[in-house]
Structures are given as structure tokens and as C-alpha cells.
Symmetry: C2
Subunit: 236 residues, 2 copies
DNA sequence: CCTGCCTAGATTGTATACGATAATAGGCAT
DNA sequence: ATGCCTATTATCGTATACAATCTAGGCAGG
């Protein structure tokens, strides 16, 4: 095997299915891979210097998470959520996240509040930076905030559900988001942490709901499904 | 390969990964496969007359659902939820299902109430039957009731989350359930449907919460994790 | 010039082959 | 008899090979 001049081989890193999955996942969530992009097994495989076997495993996992669609005999594509899916994703978030933050508010400890504040600081830093990479990092950071709250509950299952919802939200925002101001108003995150610190459970809950509403309000879901498909065809 | 006297070969049905996954899933949920049972790739493959490739795909998917654990270089085993996991599963159900039934209560229509009543009738029929197969069908039916409610919301994502929670609940009940009376009190299901029919959202919500509490109360989670592993070793 | 069919190439679906790792059994020393 | 070590075996991890399917481009007919 030509282990000479490939970056992957240079670094001598051996990629497993898990790492491929994570790498693709991150690329999708940070929107470096546009929705609809085809993920050819060969191409991805040669990128990571692994056989199609591992790539397939990674793609199947991502398909289960809803981040890619695998069409039989056609291949895997970065998911392209329909308007209906987008609505369901946010409807689910509205159902779950208030419960999550209630649970988190009960369990939260000082160290965890400090961690959240650090995340906020990181977000602010990125907001003030400019450039594409900073924007991408900001997207991820704003999602990570919601995930950090889910992590506080100590409930691994809930955390995984949130992982999925946040990842898919990122796709929806990529497709239907209007303002460039990525996903989350940073201030709202801050207000939520303030409420958590005061152990004001109801406020935190209400703020979270309003926050989700704001995110969704920034979407343009009026587009008819047909129009979406047409645009899709043009993009491909 | 002795392709002569296997039922799979006789029926000449071609199994795909999806069908293998579903078959295993059903077997696990109906508790025909005890928690801890090893699912060897070779064995499963020869059972379905397919190569390990497809079996692996199915097992990976089930692993993602939390129904099997895959241990590196050791194989896949029917999941054996710890007490902590069991608590998380039910904690998550308590968080989500009230929201689900609230959403369902809003969207529900007459035809769907009728469908639910049919499910109840089916449950009752099975309760009155005796025999192992009837018990297994009853287990599945009682879970299907919760899934049917989730389906009413029309939210595919929520439905999938519930699929996972119900399936894993079945495992937990298999491990820690005390009374033989499987999982759900049938009466409670009926009361919930009654409340739904009256559009009494709050009652339905409260009943559901109480119902989940009852299911969990029937568990014996005092068992130390160590004891569980010991029993596991004996069962194998 | 456009439309429909047909062949060639590319891509996925599945099976198999080989290498790596962990479980197991047997022998040896204590 | 017991405990440790080693050789064997079985199972998993990954790559590759072959079959099936889809896509694209060209050619003939209208």
C-alpha cells in the first residue's frame, strides 16, 4: 500500500469507523458539507485511507442519526431535511428541552455553572472574530451549549437524543436560516445560565422555550416543499 | 453449507440487513432472547443464510438503539441494562411521555381513538389467554400501546425516540420485573384512552405519569449490579 | 434537432478471504 | 491439587473480490 505521501498516512493515524463517523459528523454539523452532498464510499474511503467497509459502517450510523440519507443502490447523501422534518425537529425540541432544563436545574452544581460560563465566554470570543472558520466554530459552540445543559442531567439517553436533535437542527438552519447570525442569540444563552444560577427553574424553562422559538423564527419555512426539491435538483 | 432443512431456506425468503435487524429486535423485545445472550455473527448469519456482512450491519444498528452491546473483539450481546441505565430509561420516559400525550391529545381524531380501542381489545384478549406465546405477544402489545400514542403526534422523530425507550424498557422489565403480570396494567391504558376521548388533556397526562410510576414500581432495582452479573453468568 | 434505446462505466450490495485479538484447554512446575 | 504459562481455536476486524444496479453518453430513428 502506498503509505508514502498521504496526509493520513503521514500522521500515521489509523482511522476506525468511529473516527470517520465523528469526522463526517463534525463536517456536517459545522456545515462544511452542504446538505445534499453525495458521500461516495470510494471517495470517503480514499480520503481516510480505509476500505469501503468502514466507510459504510460510518455512513449507516450517520443515517440512523438522521444526518445522511442512504438511498438504495444510489449512495449516501448529506441529509436535506424537508420543511416537515424541520418542523418536527423543532417541535420535538420544544417538547423535550424544557423538561431537560428543569431536570438540569435541579441537579446543577457550582462547577457546572462555571463550565457553562466558560462556554458562553468561548461563544462570545467567536462572535467577535470574523472569518469562515470562526463562523463554523460558532455554529458548533452554540449547539454545544444546549448539549452541555443536557449533559448536566447525567442522563445518557437524554443526552443522545439531544445530540441528534442539535445536529439535525444545524442542518435545518443551514437550509432555511435567514440571518447570517448563525443559530442562537448569544444573549439568550446568558440569560438562561443566569436563571440556572439563581435556581429559578421556571424562568430557565420559559427562557429556553422562548429561545427555541427565536431560533425557529429565524427560519424561512414558507418555502413550498416543491420549491425545496427543485432547488435541490439545481444544487446537485 | 447445509441449505436443506432450515426454515429460512425452505421459505426461500431473501433476508436483507433490515429484516434481520427487525427479527432480532422483535425477539429481544418479546424477550425470547434473554439479556446477555451472545449473538455470534456466524450463528446469526447461518440462521438467516446470509454472510456476516449483513449481520454486522444489523447488530450495529441494534447497538445504536441500545438493544445490544458490541464489545470489541468479543462480539455482540443482548443488552443487559444496569440499574443506572434502567433508572435513566424510566426517567427519560417520565420526561417525554407526558409531553407526548399532551401533543397527541391535541391532534387525536376519532379514527385514532378507535384504533387505540382496538389495541386495548387485543391486549385484553391476550391477557385472558395463557401460554408463553401469549405472554410474549402481551409484552409487545403493551409496548405498542405507548407507541401508538406517540404515532398519533405525527412526529416521526418523537416516534423513533419512543421506539427506543419502549424497546429498552422491555429489557429492563425482563431483568428487574417482579410480578409476572408483564409490564403494563391494562386498566391504566384504558383509563388513558378514556381521558383522551374526553379531550381531557391534563387527566391523560397525569394518568400517563402515574402509569409509568406503576411500571417502575414493579421493578426491583435494589439488586446490586454485582448480583446481576452473577446471575448473568449462571444464565449463560 | 429532438427523442428513445442501448451499451459502457461507475457505484453500491453482498460474500468471501485473510490477519488480529481474545477465549480456552492442556501441560508443566510448584 | 493448584496455579501459571503456552498453544490452539474460535471469533471478530478489515480488506478485497465479484455481482447487481444505476448513470451517462452515443447512436439510430423520427
Amino acid at each position: 500500500m502506498t503509505s508514502a505521501n498521504f496526509t493520513a498516512a503521514e500522521n500515521a493515524i489509523d482511522f476506525g469507523a468511529q473516527q470517520i463517523r465523528d469526522a463526517l459528523r463534525e463536517a456536517i454539523v459545522e456545515r462544511r458539507l452542504a446538505p445534499g452532498t453525495k458521500l461516495s464510499e470510494n471517495d470517503v474511503g480514499s480520503l481516510f485511507n480505509v476500505s469501503r467497509t468502514l466507510v459504510r459502517a460510518a455512513l449507516q450510523a450517520l443515517a440512523y442519526e438522521g444526518l445522511v440519507n442512504v438511498e438504495k443502490n444510489r449512495g449516501a447523501f448529506v441529509a436535506h431535511p424537508s420543511v416537515a422534518e424541520a418542523q418536527q425537529i423543532f417541535a420535538t425540541r420544544r417538547l423535550i428541552e424544557p423538561s431537560v432544563i428543569r431536570d438540569a436545574a435541579r441537579h446543577i452544581q457550582k462547577a457546572e455553572i462555571k463550565d457553562l460560563r466558560e462556554l458562553l465566554a468561548q461563544e462570545e470570543r467567536l462572535t467577535n472574530q470574523r472569518g469562515a472558520t470562526a463562523r463554523r466554530a460558532e455554529i458548533k459552540a452554540s449547539g454545544d451549549f444546549h448539549l452541555a445543559i443536557a449533559a448536566i442531567t447525567g442522563n445518557a439517553i437524554l443526552k443522545r437524543f439531544m445530540d441528534e436533535l442539535i445536529a439535525r437542527s444545524s442542518l435545518v438552519i443551514a437550509l432555511y436560516g435567514q440571518s447570517v447570525i448563525s443559530s442562537c442569540g448569544h444573549n439568550e444563552h446568558q440569560e438562561i445560565v443566569d436563571a440556572l444560577e439563581k435556581k429559578d427553574v421556571e424562568s430557565a424553562c420559559a427562557l429556553m422555550l422562548k429561545h427555541i422559538d427565536h431560533i425557529e423564527a429565524d427560519l424561512d419555512l414558507r418555502t413550498t416543499k416543491k420549491g425545496g426539491d427543485l432547488r435541490d435538483a439545481l444544487q446537485l
